[in-house]
């Protein structure tokens, strides 16, 4: 039983990191209806800046620099690439982000090389132990941060003018533009925010229990895809719930690998995708996604 509780808690805390990544997808999708495959490289960019700077300027300033840097990279991608596209096929734009991702990731992995870069966080490898269950401080921090950020976004989307503009843009770009919404700004802002979120997620992906930032860190973004989709690509709540489902599924599938060995070993990475497929069969727009209304 205590193993179950430990796996569950760990899954939830890991899931909150996935939720942060998924939130990045959601923000961009809401504003522009584009799935951002370059998110993995934004993550790597944020982590890299933090890792390089923390020795000289300390952890917190380095983290802020990482967030700002990744936000800047995100904004630059929007300004230099996404905005220049003349067509309106969102699948093509999604493929463009794959191109951007290849470019950025190649550059960053070339810089990182074969190193493992620690981020110099203050939590170290401290662990909170309750009974027989132990939970790393980093994970508690991740959980709290994700909760705060996602609440903040829920409120932002609902009450600020940027959030309203974004919802208007998602509803109908033309109408929004006619109503005076500056679509360029909405989309630029979304990319910058997604970059910042990616940097925060990168922090929690590279601290204890993982040794540090390295070239494969960005692959974690692949796990956030099912999270974003099964929650619903345009839903903030969906990102949170999706992230937690993926985290828990992964953790339990790994922890009970022996019991599940008839499905083949190493199920941890596959299980989230299986869950996603089942959910999509029942709800094609995800758990909290807006059902598409036909407009002819």
């Amino acid at each position: 039983m205590s193993t179950f509780a430990e796996l569950l808690l760990n899954g939830l805390s890991m899931g909150s990191v996935y939720a942060l990544i998924a939130l990045g997808f959601v923000v961009i999708f809401r504003a522009t209806e584009v799935v951002n495959f370059a998110h993995a490289s934004l993550l790597l960019a944020g982590g890299y800046i933090t890792a390089v700077l923390h020795d000289d300027i300390g952890f917190w300033p380095a983290l802020l620099a990482g967030i700002a840097g990744a936000a800047l990279v995100g904004a630059a991608v929007e300004f230099l690439v996404m905005r220049r596209y003349r067509g309106s096929d969102h699948s093509v734009l999604a493929i463009v982000t794959i191109g951007v991702d290849i470019l950025l990731t190649t550059e960053l992995t070339r810089r990182i090389g074969t190193d493992v870069l620690p981020l110099g966080d203050p939590w170290g490898d401290d662990v909170l132990t309750i009974g027989s269950i132990s939970l790393a401080h980093t994970r508690i921090a991740a959980f709290v941060t994700a909760g705060l950020l996602i609440t903040a976004f829920l409120l932002t989307f609902r009450y600020t003018s940027w959030g309203v503009a974004m919802r208007a843009a998602a509803e109908s770009t033309e109408t929004a533009a006619l109503m005076g919404v500056r679509l360029g700004r909405v989309s630029l802002g979304a990319w910058a925010v997604a970059g910042g979120l990616a940097a925060v997620a990168a922090l929690f992906l590279t601290v204890f229990p993982t040794p540090g930032l390295e070239r494969a860190t960005s692959l974690a973004a692949l796990k956030a895809f099912p999270a974003a989709i099964l929650g619903g690509l345009d839903s903030t709540t969906g990102a949170l719930v999706g992230g937690l489902i993926v985290g828990v599924t992964e953790s339990l599938a790994t922890g009970y690998q022996s019991e599940l060995s008839f499905l083949g070993r190493g199920l941890g990475d596959v299980a989230p995708y299986l869950v996603m497929t089942v959910i999509l069969l029942v709800r094609p727009a995800g758990l909290f996604g807006t059902k598409e209304l036909a407009r002819v």
Binding site: T3, L7, N10, V116, V127, T210, P211, T254, G266
Partner: protein, 424 residues
């Protein structure tokens, strides 16, 4: 197309076939005679891979993919060996040239690179990725017959007279590692042994070893398969804890080692953990997992570490530092150096018997029964069905030593390993 067009197309096609037959007569690929081996000056027989005064060797490496860390060290060590060999006059008066191709652990690029280099080189001093070696195997054994020294220690590669694995394979290394746990760390009959391993050739070869010794010694293996992208071992530790294992073998990468050892230590799960030689990198000692690694982690290795106090190791460290001052010294350097030295030694023997053809080099390697490259373990190449050694060294991470590892158990092969033959 209109009918007129079709008629014209037919006419053109007929002409094309005629032209084709004419043209092919003057192709450079056409066979004229089988000038297989030439006798150059000094009566040394030469063949493919030697032109003018150069012996060409190939290296198929991975510097941009999952094995980038290993590939970089291996390649640089081999380039260093070749440089020194040439500075000493080369082999038989020939200069050796190493052509490196980076396949980035991509099967298509690996096979292309093999196809490109195979007709031009005498043999391969390096070939990373056992699935790719397996893919090229029919051609290596069938037509090419050049010596290939894979940097992959999978037992599935044994048996070919041309593909020669250097040092103990992962299954044997794992047997020796478990043997160490039983002799020194209190693991005993009836206990459960955790094994966390990568999906793929490396992890699954190692698993074959741990299953074998478990059967011999009355242990139960608790398996945890992971992927190279899994960097957080929390769930694995929880599962192993639940199963009540008394020791853990890790056949994964350095990052997984850092995470597993770190999580286990933080959670008070104090069982001994031992890894294969790929499951450690000196860079880890600078991370938060450093202290835990130094305390409760061992590594089984097919040779003494780079920081060993033998004259050969000390010279290599000095030379390598001079040539690549920015790069870290790890066991990849030893592996690369050993392979290059084995190839160099085979070349020298082949030179002595005046036969530098592929066949001559293959034969020459079969006569080498105790090659010592300065890292403690003699390599015996006389039996193609066995790896060149069954011995392992047990190392422990230590910040103060060059390469980050010190020896805790000198080279030896356990009795189980001696009696073991891979079933695959």
């Amino acid at each position: 197309m209109s009918t007129m067009n079709t008629a014209r197309t037919t006419r053109v096609a007929a002409g094309a076939i005629a032209a084709l037959l004419l043209l092919s007569g003057c192709s450079s690929k056409a066979k004229d005679d089988d000038g297989k081996s030439d006798s150059a000056a000094g009566g040394v027989k030469t063949g493919k891979g030697i032109s003018g005064k150069t012996i060409a060797l190939g290296a198929l490496t991975d510097m941009t993919g999952v094995y980038a860390t290993l590939g970089k060290s291996v390649t640089q060590a081999q380039q260093l060996y070749v440089k020194q060999l040439n500075a000493d006059g080369g082999v038989c008066g020939y200069k050796v040239e190493l052509t490196v191709r980076d396949h980035g652990y991509d099967p298509q690029k690996a096979l292309s690179a093999y196809t490109e280099l195979a007709p031009k080189v005498l043999g391969f001093a390096q070939f990373i990725g056992s699935p790719f070696v397996a893919a090229a195997k029919p051609r290596i054994d069938g037509q090419d017959k050049g010596l290939v020294l894979p940097q992959a220690w999978s037992s599935a590669l044994l048996g070919s007279p041309y593909i020669r694995v250097i040092g103990s394979t992962y299954d044997i290394e794992t047997i020796n590692a478990v043997d160490f746990l039983m002799k020194e760390k209190g693991l005993k009959k009836g206990d459960k042994l955790g094994h966390v391993y990568f999906e793929g050739d490396y992890g699954e070869s190692a698993l074959a070893g741990s299953k074998h010794i478990a059967k011999e010694a009355g242990l139960t293996v608790v398996e945890q398969k992971i992927k190279p992208t899994d960097n957080d071992m929390t769930a694995q530790v929880a599962a192993l804890k639940k199963a009540g294992v008394k020791a853990v073998v890790l056949s994964a990468g350095p990052r997984q080692a850092a995470s597993l050892v770190g999580v286990a230590a933080a959670g008070g799960f104090n069982v001994p953990i031992i890894g294969n030689n790929s499951a450690f990198a000196p860079q880890l000692l600078a991370t938060q997992a450093g202290p835990a690694l130094a305390k409760n982690y061992w590594v089984a290795s097919p040779s003494l570490p780079i920081g060993a106090d033998t004259p050969g190791a000390e010279k290599l460290v000095a030379d390598y530092k001079k040539a690549y001052p920015k790069d870290s010294l790890d066991n990849g350097v030893v592996a690369g150096w050993t392979a290059a030295a084995a190839f160099g030694e085979a070349l020298k023997k082949a030179c002595a018997s005046k036969d530098l053809t592929r066949e001559g080099v293959d034969k020459a390697l079969l006569t080498i029964d105790a090659l010592d490259t300065g890292f403690g373990i003699p390599q015996n190449f006389t039996d193609p069905k066995a790896p060149s050694s069954k011995e392992s060294v047990i190392l422990q991470p230590d910040k103060s030593v060059t390469g980050g590892m010190k020896v805790v158990q000198q080279p030896s092969a356990s009795t189980v390993a001696e009696a073991y033959t891979a079933t695959e």
